[in-house]
């Protein structure tokens, strides 16, 4: 019997280790360990053993069964793993193929710039104001210190609806409208993004374009505040290394007035084609609000002061996104719009 058990153990271990499928392993399990299996059959002969031998053989039979089970489990695990691996291998896909084409919507680049400007200025405590695009001559010109015969009206080619009504040539009319609405309240801190219109149409001018106006009025507002606010804006819009430069200029509604240049965002100021080798880009006009404009808005220039600025959104978008042709902005070519 001892010999039989030894033989069964060896035969079972060898057969199981060589089993090459889960099915054949299951068959071996039945063959050796099943109710009619070899081990069970042998154990049926236990009754014939002596009292001394029976416990020894019992113990040995248990050891053989455990050994066979161990081998069986290990082999079973190996075979299962192999089956899984084979299944996974058969499921391989080409992961370099493109993914599902979900529709990706885009904002117009001018909206992107306006959104960004709104975020920046809201962070600086500005509200967003609005006004009509078909505007009275009064708000567009006269209230901005530009009476009817003023030579500076030549600076702008105006679309007229009638002698008293124009398409606003700038977002500046919102200045006086806002002041009237605020009715003396302080501080006034607004930006006004929006469409403006000028009778000009060529490679670098569009008859409709966008501006962002800014206006701050309070006690003790200074030109240094103007510089600080514009620096904060341009560095957030174009990067923290951007420098600004102010040049004296003229606008009828500010005094002193200034043009504001930023260091070229393309070359960093060393000079390139975009900045005509000057290292500087003109991006906005600004100044201290003219006393006549403060008065027109119902504020006393002896008690408060303010600054205003205006910038072209197209210009900023072109610089920021490397757009070299203004016309792309209004053609709405999907190949252009889908890039944003």
């Amino acid at each position: 019997m001892r010999e039989d058990l030894k033989r069964i153990r060896e035969a079972a271990v060898e057969a199981m280790q060589q089993a090459d499928s889960i099915d054949s392993l299951n068959e071996l399990k039945v063959r050796f360990l099943g109710k009619k299996g070899e081990l069970t059959t042998i154990l049926k002969g236990m009754g014939a053993l002596s009292d001394e031998e029976r416990p020894l053989m019992g113990q040995m039979a248990n050891e053989v069964r455990d050994e066979i089970n161990r081998v069986l489990d290990a082999r079973m695990e190996e075979l299962r793993q192999a089956v899984l691996n084979a299944k996974l291998a058969s499921e391989t896909i080409d992961v370099t193929l493109p993914g599902r084409a979900l529709a990706r919507g885009t904002k117009h680049p001018l909206t992107l710039v306006i959104d960004e400007a709104k975020q920046i200025f809201m962070g600086l405590g500005f509200e967003v104001a609005e006004g009509p695009e078909i505007e009275s001559d009064y708000y567009n010109f006269e209230a901005l210190n530009l009476p009817k015969d003023h030579p500076a009206r030549d600076m702008q080619d105006t679309f007229y609806i009638n002698p008293e009504i124009v398409l606003r040539t700038q977002t500046s009319p919102v200045q006086v409208r806002t002041m009237e609405k605020k009715a003396g309240e302080l501080p006034v801190k607004i930006i006004c993004p929006g469409k403006v219109y000028r009778k000009d149409d060529d490679a670098t001018h569009s008859p409709m374009f966008h501006q962002i106006e800014g206006l701050v009025i309070d006690e003790h507002i200074t030109m240094s505040d103007l510089k600080g606010v514009l620096l904060a804006f341009t560095q957030q819009m174009f990067g923290k290394d951007v420098k600004i430069r102010l040049r004296p200029s003229y606008f009828p509604f500010t005094e002193p007035s200034t043009e504001v240049d930023i260091s070229c965002v393309m070359c960093g100021g060393t000079g390139c084609r975009v900045c005509s080798n000057t290292g500087w880009l003109e991006i906005l006009g600004a100044g201290m609000v003219h006393p006549n404009v403060l008065r027109a808005g119902g504020y006393d220039p002896e008690k408060v002061s303010g600054f205003a600025f205006g910038m072209g959104v197209e210009r900023i978008a072109m610089l920021k996104y490397g757009i070299n042709d203004l016309r792309l902005m209004y053609e709405n070519d999907m190949r252009f719009l889908r890039q944003f």
């Binding site: 193929l97 599902r100 084409a101 979900l102 529709a103 990706r104 919507g105 885009t106 904002k107 117009h108 001018l110 959104d115 962070g123 600086l124 405590g125 509200e127 967003v128 695009e133 078909i134 009275s136 001559d137 015969d149 030579p151 500076a152 030549d154 609806i161 009638n162 009504i165 302080l186 501080p187 469409k195 219109y197 008859p207 409709m208 309070d218 006690e219 003790h220 200074t222 030109m223 240094s224 505040d225 600080g228 606010v229 620096l231 904060a232 102010l246 004296p248 200029s249 003229y250 005094e255 006393p291 002061s305 902005m329 209004y330 709405n332 070519d333 999907m334 190949r335 719009l337 889908r338």
Partner: protein, 810 residues
């Protein structure tokens, strides 16, 4: 304004280069746009004399010349200019010389004859063709006899110079004068300015005996002065004068005309020279024109005048449009000997109106309309007399005419010095403030504590209030020196209004749904009214017309967002971008009656959507064809985003833009908020669009009026839901929306939600009928029994049967 750099150097000691000077001026507010060298690359061209000239044996038009550049050695050169002659002093390019555009002079053989150089014309020396005076137009330039041989010709012709091209802001019209620019530079560089001193010899006649000036319109002609020069020889001006005019962009004509232009550039004072003998009665009358009075101006154009225009007349006829242009009838000609020089101050707005209405902007009118220096009116006339005498001989007549009926005074401004730093945020000392103003020729007439009384120089009419003076201080102090600070004081809320937030939300949602934002002009062509087939009395036909449009295409303001979208669809189709899903949000402009400053147009924020073609395809899937329900899905998502729940869609059969069977009105809380659907094929054809196109127009104002909704969540159910399907057969013209309304009205306590999951029409159903299948979800705060669910189910079914004769399918 263009100015010769060397001219400025004659007036101020400038020790920096033209480029550096340009930078200094630009940073102080007088922008120099370009610095242009007048020597375009000329070297090795020297003064020479033609000793001999003989005809070329082989060529009719060529001459063989012997020239000398040192008076001793002969150089043989072949010359083709018709005017070359022995004895002339000429500009000779030696072998090795360079000319503009990189031309290099080499030894050559012309028809077998050796040529060692080239005799030059001014054009060949780089003078622009439209700046060449008449006598130098043909052939080589002939230099004055006695010009030292061997001298560089660029020196003789003053070509070693730079043009400063100024880009002046409208307030700095004082810089339309070289002297004023020199004073600006003097202030910026801290240098003295050397002003010209008119000096001349006079004869013993007096102008008062020779001419008479009467001002009949003193409110338009504030001052009229005159000088006379007799016995003048009309001839070309000297090269230095010609060069300075050429730098200023003016073509030299003859000495008298050139001098009037030169002094205009110098003083900013426009002058006019009359031929004294052409002035009837030798008198000048300054008066307003009569209506429709005519004059032929110097440019040979007949001008018809209005009665508020100012006219210069002699004893018989008009001789000039005051401040704008002189008349042809009294112009200086080659035969003129006696010259009457006018220098006047005309009222700026009047000149501006006249020149605008005549469509005639001249160098003179540009200066008068901004206001000239009222103190140098007479000085400029004297300066012209001096220069005419210098360039054309003759004698200056004694005395001056100076009628000055409307006196000007220098403006006075009081400036509290503390205001300077208060406005600029700087710490400029009072001494520095005063020093800067003084450098700029402002006169401090009084100083009391903080308060300055400042007299404005006569050439700075742009300065009238204290802020102007603060700007003067700031720009000389340097804008760069102003510190950078952020405003302090009461804090403010940086925020958007509710309307702005809602509009931004709409844009963000549509972008999230995969639509591309487009932006069209607000202008449209009026013919869109017909292309969109608006009814005759439609409000959208009441568009705002532009009085002076760029074109008919852009003649009106849009009353609908649709034309722009359709043009975008077409534009992209023509570029093979056939599939698109786009939106635009912007204003349309509606007129409700006459537009006045008090009642402007109704500007309505509007959302437009257009779908055409299909969604993206890949290797895995074909794209989804856009259809009505794709568009409606977008709108439903948008409504959900805006938390608008009381939304209804009603069939639209009466909108000319849309397919009458495939369009719907959008109602929010019972209020019409938009319309959408398939573009009517006739409209598509009008815009050249092939195939189906889907359009939506949504009134953003109505959405905004709903306010911002904040969602209140429903707690998640603790007990399982029961679902039952219900497929009902109804007549095919019954609307799903109506069935849903009945379900909603009969949902009771238990029916929580339902969804249409199938619509069928076909063989298995009687003709004229359709089946609509609903998935109903029942739920309560307990586990529902079958009986409860069935009862709720039956209630809905009964109601459908009762109202729409719905039959349960099967």
């Amino acid at each position: 304004m263009q100015i010769s750099y060397n001219w400025l150097k004659e007036l101020v000691d400038i020790e920096i280069s033209a480029d550096e000077l340009a930078e200094v001026m630009t940073r102080a507010g007088v922008a120099v746009e370009h610095v242009i060298p007048t020597n375009k690359g000329v070297t090795g061209v020297v003064v020479a004399k033609v000793l001999e000239k003989e005809k070329h044996p082989e060529a009719d038009k060529l001459n063989i010349c012997q020239v000398t550049t040192d008076g001793e050695n002969k150089i043989q050169v072949v010359c083709g200019a018709p005017n070359v002659a022995a004895g002339q002093t000429i500009a000779f390019a030696t072998v090795g010389a360079t000319l503009p555009d990189g031309v290099k002079i080499k030894k050559a053989k012309l028809r077998g004859v050796e040529s060692n150089g080239m005799i030059c014309s001014v054009k060949e020396l780089g003078v622009e063709i439209d700046k060449i005076p008449p006598e130098q137009k043909e052939g080589i330039v002939v230099l004055p006899e006695g010009t030292p041989l061997g001298t560089s010709v660029t020196e003789v012709l003053h070509l070693d110079d730079y043009i400063l091209e100024l880009d002046l802001t409208p307030n700095r019209s004082d810089c339309l004068s070289v002297l004023n620019v020199a004073m600006e530079i003097g202030a910026l560089l801290g240098k003295e300015v050397r002003l010209p001193q008119p000096e001349f010899t006079c004869n013993d006649e007096n102008i008062a005996d020779l001419a008479k000036v009467t001002i009949e319109a003193p409110e338009l002609c504030h001052r009229y002065t005159a000088k006379m020069v007799k016995g003048v020889k009309i001839q070309p001006s000297p090269f230095w004068l010609q060069h300075r005019l050429q730098c200023a962009g003016i073509r030299p004509i003859n000495n008298v005309v050139d001098v009037t232009n030169y002094v205009m550039m110098e003083y900013g004072q426009p002058l006019h020279a009359f031929d004294y003998h052409e002035l009837a009665n030798h008198e000048i009358i300054v008066r307003q024109a009569k209506a429709d009075e005519e004059i032929v101006t110097l440019d040979s154009q007949k001008r018809v005048l209005a009665d508020d225009m100012l006219l210069i007349c002699d004893g018989a006829k008009p001789v000039a449009v005051a401040g704008v242009m002189g008349g042809e009838n009294t112009e200086v000609t080659d035969d003129t000997t006696d010259v009457f020089i006018e220098s006047a101050y005309f009222q700026p707005t009047s000149v501006r109106r006249t020149s605008t209405r005549l469509g005639l902007r001249s160098e003179a009118s540009i200066r008068f309309e901004k206001g000239i220096n009222f103190e140098t009116v007479l000085t400029a006339a004297e300066r012209a007399a001096q220069l005419i005498q210098l360039t054309g001989g003759g004698t200056v007549v004694n005395g001056t005419i100076d009628n000055y009926p409307t006196k000007h005074e220098r403006a006075m401004i009081t400036l509290p010095m503390s205001n300077v730093n208060q406005l600029l945020g700087t710490e400029i000392s009072n001494d520095e403030i005063k020093a800067i103003l003084t450098k700029l020729n402002f006169v401090i007439t009084k100083e009391e504590g903080d308060m300055l009384t400042v007299e404005v120089p006569a050439y700075r009419p742009d300065c009238s209030i204290k802020e102007d003076l603060i700007e003067e201080v700031a720009r000389v102090y340097g804008y760069d020196t102003i510190p950078q600070t952020l405003p302090f004081g009461a804090s403010s809320r940086g925020q958007l209004t509710e309307a702005q937030k809602i509009r931004d939300n709409v844009v963000n949602k549509l972008v999230g749904l995969g639509l591309n934002e487009v932006l069209n002009y607000s202008f449209i062509n009026k013919n869109n009214d017909e292309k969109l087939n608006y009814p005759a009395d439609d409000i959208r036909r009441n568009s705002v017309a532009i009085l002076n449009p760029l074109s008919e295409e852009q003649g009106h303001m849009r009353t609908s967002i649709v034309p722009g979208l359709l043009n975008t669809v077409l534009f992209n189709h023509n570029r093979r971008n056939e599939d698109l899903a786009i939106f635009e949000i912007g204003k349309v402009f509606l007129l409700e009656g006459e537009i006045t400053p008090e009642e402007l147009a109704n500007e309505k924020w509007t959302l437009g959507i257009a779908l055409k073609g299909k969604s993206n395809a890949t290797w895995q899937h074909t794209g989804v064809e856009y259809d009505f329900f794709y568009l409606k899905g977008i709108i439903e998502e948008l409504m959900a985003e805006l938390k608008l729940t009381n939304v209804e869609y009603r069939p639209c059969k009466d909108n000319s833009i849309y397919h009458p069977g495939r369009s719907a009105y959008l109602y929010i809380n019972g209020q019409m908020a938009g319309v959408f659907g398939e573009l009517h094929p006739a409209i598509a054809a009008n815009y050249g669009i092939n195939g189906h196109c889907y359009i939506a127009e949504i009134d953003v104002e109505t959405i905004i009026a709903q306010g911002i909704r904040v969602v209140q969540v429903e707690l998640l159910p603790k007990f399982p839901a029961a679902t039952r399907d219900m497929a009902v057969v109804v007549e095919e013209n019954v609307l799903a929306g109506d069935l849903e309304r009945v379900i909603a009205e009969n949902k009771g306590e238990l029916l929580k939600s339902w969804k249409i999951f199938d619509v069928y029409q076909g063989d298995q159903i009687a003709k004229g009928y359709k089946s609509i299948a609903f998935a109903l979800t029942f739920q309560a705060d307990r586990t529902l029994t079958d009986e409860e669910v069935s009862a709720a189910y039956d209630k809905v079914l009964k109601a459908l049967e009762a109202q729409y004769q719905a039959q349960l399918r099967n």
